[in-house]
Amino acid sequence: MLTSPKLDYALLAPILIILATAILGVLVEAFIKQALRARLQLTISLAGIVIAFEQLYRVRNQGSSMAAITSVSIDGAGIFLQGTILVLAFVGILLIADQDHFAPQASALPGSIEEAAALESGRAQTEVFPLTLFAVSGMMLFPVATDFITLFVALEVLSLPLYLMAGLSRRRRLLSQEAALKYFLLGAYSSAFFLFGAALLYGYSGSLSLNGLTDAIHGGGGNDVFLLLGIAFVSVGLLFKVGAVPFHSWTPDVYQGAPTPITGFMAAATKAAAFGATMRIFYVGLDAAQWSWKPIISVIAVVTMLFGAIAAISQRDIKRILAFSSIAHAGFLLTAVVSLNQSGLAALLFYSVAYGLATLGAFGVVTLIRDSAGEVSDINRWLGLGKKSPLIAATMSLFLLSFAGIPLTSGFVGKFAIFSAAYESGNIYLVVVGVLASAIAVFFYLRIILMLFFADASNDSVSVVIPPLLTRVAIFLSAIVTILLGLAPSILFDVAQNFAYFIR
C-alpha cells in the first residue's frame, strides 16, 4: 500500500504562488497583445509577490516545521529570509518596470537588422518579469532547503533566469551579453563544484540531508577525505554565489554589464538567498566539523573584506565601485557566518534587509543619471550633480553613507550587530579587520559624495532624468527604510532576533 507523501502545501505556498505567477507571466507573454502586456505583467508580478507575502505572514508562527518530506524546513530564519527576498523583489520589480533599460527583443543579435526592426516597430518583450519571478522562487527555496538535491535545484532555479536577465540590456548590448555569458560559464562551473561536493558528502554520510550529514559527522567512522573534499567543493559553489574572494571575479563585470535594475535586484536578493543557504549549511549541516572549515572561511572573510575595500578605490565606474563594495559586504556577512552563534544569525538577517534595500536604492539612483546615449556610470561625469539635482545627490549620499556604516543609517546598525556577534564568538581579529576594511571603504564612498557636492559641474550633457513614478517609489522606500532602521533599528532587529533560529 502506497501512501502519498505529505507536502504541507500551506508552508510551501509562498514559493508555489510565486512559481504560479511566473508561469502566468509566461502565458501573458504568449497570448496577450503587445499594448497591454507590460502593464499587465507588472500588475501580475506585484500582485503575486504581495499574495505570497501575505501567505508567508499567515504561516509565520508555524516555524519549526518540516515540509515536503523534510527536504524543506520552514523555520524562523527561513521565513524571515523568504520575507526579505519578497520585499527586495517587490522593490526590484518597481525598478524593472522602467522598460527603457531592456532590449526590445533580446533574441535579436546586437547590431542586426532584426534588432533595428524591433526597435523601430516599438515592440517590446517583457519576459523579464516572469524571469524575475522564477529567480525569486529559486531564491526563496534556497535558504530553506535542507537536502543537497533540493539545494542544488534551488540554486539552479535562481541562477538560470539571472544569467539570461544579465544579457537583456538595451544599450551597450555586447557588454551586457558578454556579462551574461561570463556569468553563465562561471556559474555553471561553480554549480558543478557544488554538485560534486554534494556527491562526496553523500559518499561520506550516506545521506543527502543536512541532518544526516551532522549525524554522520557525530558518529564518526566515515572517510574524512570525502568529508573534507565535499566541504571544500560545496563551499566553492556557495562562495561563488555570494561573490567572495577568490571566487569574485565575475562580480564587477556582471554588475557593470547587466541592466542596472537587474544588477540592483541581483545584488540585493541573491545575497540574501545565498547567505541564508550558506548559513544553514554551515550551521546545521557542518557545525560538527567546524574545525575543518572555520579557519579557512575566516581567512576568506578577511581577504574578501580587505580586497573589496581596496580594489574599489581605483575604480571609476559607479557600477563597478558598487560591485567591489558588494564584495566587501560579502566579507562582512561571512564574518557573521563564522560567528556560528545566534547573534550572528540575527545580524545576518538584519544586514540582508538593510544592505539589500540600500543597494536597490543606490542602483535605482544610478538608473536616473543619463545622457543622450543612456546611463552614465562614469563617476567623473557625475561631478557637481549636487548642484543640478540636490535631492537625488543627497539620496545617493544617504545610501553610500549606509554602505560605509556611518551611524544613524541602517548600515551602521548592521555592521555593529555583525561585529558584536563576531566578538562574542571570540573572533576578535575579524572585528579588527572588519573595522580596518570599513575605514578603507569609507574613502571611496566619501569620494563619490565629494564629487557630487564639492566639485563644480563638468560641462557636459549628463543630466538627471525625471524619475518614472515607480522608480521614484522604489528609491523613496529604500531611503525611508535606510533612515528608519538607522534611527529605530528595534523595529526590525527585534523581529530578526525572534526569527533567528534554525531547526534541525
Binding site: A346, K387, L401, I406, P407, L408, F412, V413, F416, A417, F419, S420, Y423, E424, I428, V431, V432, V435, L436, S438, A439, V442, F443, L446, R447, L450, F453, F454, A455, A488, P489, S490, F493, D494, Q497
Partner: protein, 501 residues
C-alpha cells in the same frame, strides 16, 4: 523629560523651522538661528544654576530604551566636567553666529543650509557631552563629523574639499577603532552578567590586563586623533586653514574637546590599569605636542595655521594635565578645556575679521593695525595674551595648575612643558608685532574697525577670559568633585610633598 533633552531638542527644532523658511530671505534665517542659539544659551545657564555642586553622581539624568536588543538606551546626565563643557558650547554658538554673520554668503550652498548644519551640530555637541550611554556617545561622535565635513567643504576657502575629506577620513578611522573597543566592552559586560552600555556600569567591570590595554588603545587613538595629539594632528592645520572662522572656532573650541573629554570619561574610568600602564608614553607624546606645536607655530606665515599649531601645543598641555593623575593636573586640564575654547574663539574670530577685511590670511600682509582699527587690534592682542597664558587671564590659571600638578609626578615633563610657555610668548608676540605694530602698508590702510555687532560678539568672550582669570572659583568648584571621583576610581592619590630639612 530632562532639561538636557530639551537642550538638545531646541537647536533641532530651530533647524526644522529654518528648513521651511524661504531661501531668499537670508536675514530672517540668520535671525531665527541666532534666536534659537540664544535660547539654548539661556536654558543652559538656567540649568547651571540648578546644578548641585556637592553632588557626586550624575545629574539631570534621563534614560529611555532605544535599541532593546542590545540594551542600548538614550541615556543622558552630566557631572561638573560635562556641565562646564556644555555651558561653553552653548555660549560659543550664538557668539559664532553673531561674529560670522556674513561668512555663509560665499558658500557653495545657501545661507539656510549653513545654519541648519550649524544648529544640527549644536544638538550633537551638547549630546556628545551629555551622553551616558557609550553607544549613544559613539553614534553622536561619528555623526557630528558630517555637519563639519559639509561646513568645511561647502563654506570654506582654498583647498576646502581636500581639507574636509582629510578631516573626515582621519576622524572616521579613529572612530572605527573605537567601535571595536566599544563592542569589546559590550561583550565583556554581557559575559559578566548582562550586556550594557551604561557608563557607570561599564566602569565597574573587571577586565584582565591584556584586554584592558587593547581596548584602551582603541579609545585612546580615536581621542588622540580628535584632540589632536602629535603624531595624529596632521589633519588639523589644513582643516583650520580652509574652514570659516566660525567653523574653526567650533571645531577646535568644542569638537576637539570631545577628544580630551573622552580620555577622562572613557579611557580613565573604564581602564584604570591600562591608564597607568600607558601614562609614561602618553606624557611623552603630550610633551612632544607642546613643543612641536609651539615650534611650528613660530614658523607659520598664515594666521589660521598659526592658531591651529598653538592649539596642538595647548592640547599637549591638556593631555599632560590629564595623565599626570594628580588632582591639580586633572582639574587644571578640565578648566583648560573651557579656557582654550574661549581663547581659541577669540583668536579665530578676530583673525577671521582681519582676514576678511584684508583679503589675505598672511601675517606679512598686515601691519600697524593698531593705528587703523584699534578695537580689532586690541581684541586680537588680548586673544593672543590669553593664548600665551598671561597672568590675569583664565588660561594662566589652568596652565599653572597643569604644570604644578604634573611637576609633582613628572618633573622633567613639567619643566619641558614650561619651555612651551616661553615659546608661546615668542609665537604670539611675533605675530602681534608683525600684524599690529610697525608701518601700515597702504593696502592694509583701509581696514575698518569692528562694528557694533562684532563688538557684541567678542565682548563676552573677553569678559569670560578676564573674569575666570581673576576669579576661577565658580568653575573650579564645579570641576573639583569630578576630579575627585575620577582620582578615586583610578585609584591614585596626590603625592604628598616631601619636606626637605
Amino acid at each position: 523629560m530632562s532639561i538636557l533633552t530639551t537642550l538638545q531638542l531646541l537647536p533641532l527644532i530651530g533647524a526644522g523651522l529654518i528648513a521651511f523658511l524661504p531661501v531668499s530671505n537670508a536675514k530672517l534665517v540668520k535671525q531665527v538661528a541666532l534666536g534659537f542659539a540664544v535660547l539654548v544659551m539661556i536654558v543652559s545657564i538656567f540649568m547651571a544654576f540648578g546644578f548641585e555642586k556637592s553632588e557626586r553622581s550624575l545629574q539631570f539624568s534621563e534614560s529611555r530604551s532605544w535599541i532593546s536588543a542590545f540594551n542600548i538606551n538614550y541615556a543622558v546626565g552630566i557631572d561638573g566636567m560635562a556641565l562646564v563643557l556644555i555651558l561653553m558650547t552653548s555660549i560659543l554658538v550664538p557668539i559664532v553666529f553673531l561674529a560670522g554673520w556674513n561668512e555663509s554668503e560665499n558658500g557653495r550652498w545657501s545661507v539656510k543650509t549653513f545654519y541648519i548644519l550649524l544648529l544640527v551640530l549644536e544638538t550633537m555637541m551638547i549630546g556628545v557631552f551629555a551622553a551616558t550611554d557609550v553607544f549613544l556617545f559613539y553614534v553622536i561622535f561619528e555623526a557630528m563629523l558630517l555637519p563639519v565635513y559639509f561646513l568645511i567643504g561647502g563654506y570654506g576657502s582654498g583647498e576646502r574639499a581636500a581639507a574636509a575629506m582629510k578631516f573626515l577620513l582621519y576622524s572616521l578611522f579613529g572612530g572605527l577603532l573605537m567601535l571595536a573597543s566599544v563592542i569589546g566592552l559590550y561583550i565583556i559586560s554581557t559575559n559578566q552578567g548582562g550586556g550594557t552600555f551604561d557608563i557607570t556600569k561599564l566602569s565597574e567591570l573587571s577586565i584582565d590586563t591584556a584586554t584592558q590595554n587593547w581596548l584602551f588603545l582603541g579609545f585612546f587613538i580615536a581621542f588622540a586623533i580628535k584632540a589632536p595629539l602629535w603624531p595624529f594632528h596632521t589633519w588639523l592645520p589644513t582643516a583650520a586653514k580652509s574652514a570659516t572662522a566660525g567653523t574653526s572656532t567650533l571645531l577646535l573650541g568644542v569638537l576637539d574637546k570631545v577628544g580630551t573629554y573622552g580620555m577622562i570619561r572613557f579611557c580613565m574610568s573604564f581602564f584604570p590599569e591600562a591608564t597607568k600602564t600607558f601614562t609614561p608614553a602618553i606624557i611623552t607624546l603630550a610633551v612632544i605636542s607642546i613643543l612641536y606645536g609651539a615650534f611650528l607655530a613660530i614658523g607659520q606665515k598664515d594666521i589660521n595655521s598659526l592658531i591651529a599649531f598653538t592649539s596642538i601645543s595647548h592640547f599637549g598641555f591638556i593631555t599632560l594635565g590629564i595623565f599626570a593623575l594628580t588632582s591639580q593636573g586633572l582639574s587644571g586640564a578640565i578648566f583648560y578645556m573651557v579656557n582654550h575654547g574661549f581663547s581659541t574663539a577669540a583668536l579665530f574670530l578676530t583673525a577671521g575679521w582681519m582676514i576678511k577685511r584684508r583679503g589675505s590670511s598672511q601675517i606679512a600682509d598686515f601691519g600697524g593695525l593698531q593705528r587703523v582699527a584699534p578695537v580689532l587690534a586690541w581684541s586680537f592682542f588680548l586673544a593672543g595674551m590669553s593664548a600665551l597664558a598671561l597672568p590675569g587671564l583664565s588660561s594662566f590659571v589652568s596652565e599653572f595648575l597643569v604644570l604644578v600638578g604634573s611637576f609633582a609626578k613628572y618633573p622633567v615633563a613639567a619643566i619641558l612643558g614650561t619651555t612651551g610657555i616661553i615659546l608661546a610668548s615668542l609665537y604670539v608676540l611675533l605675530a602681534v608685532q608683525r600684524a599690529l605694530h610697525g608701518e601700515t602698508p597702504t593696502s592694509a590702510a583701509g581696514i575698518i574697525d569692528l562694528n557694533l555687532r562684532e563688538k557684541i560678539a567678542i565682548g563676552p568672550v573677553i569678559a569670560v577670559l578676564v573674569l575666570l582669570g581673576f576669579y576661577p572659583k565658580p568653575a573650579l568648584d564645579v570641576i573639583n568633585p569630578t576630579t575627585q571621583t575620577i582620582m578615586t576610581h583610578v585609584g591614585v592619590s596626590d603625592p604628598i610633598a616631601k619636606v626637605v630639612k
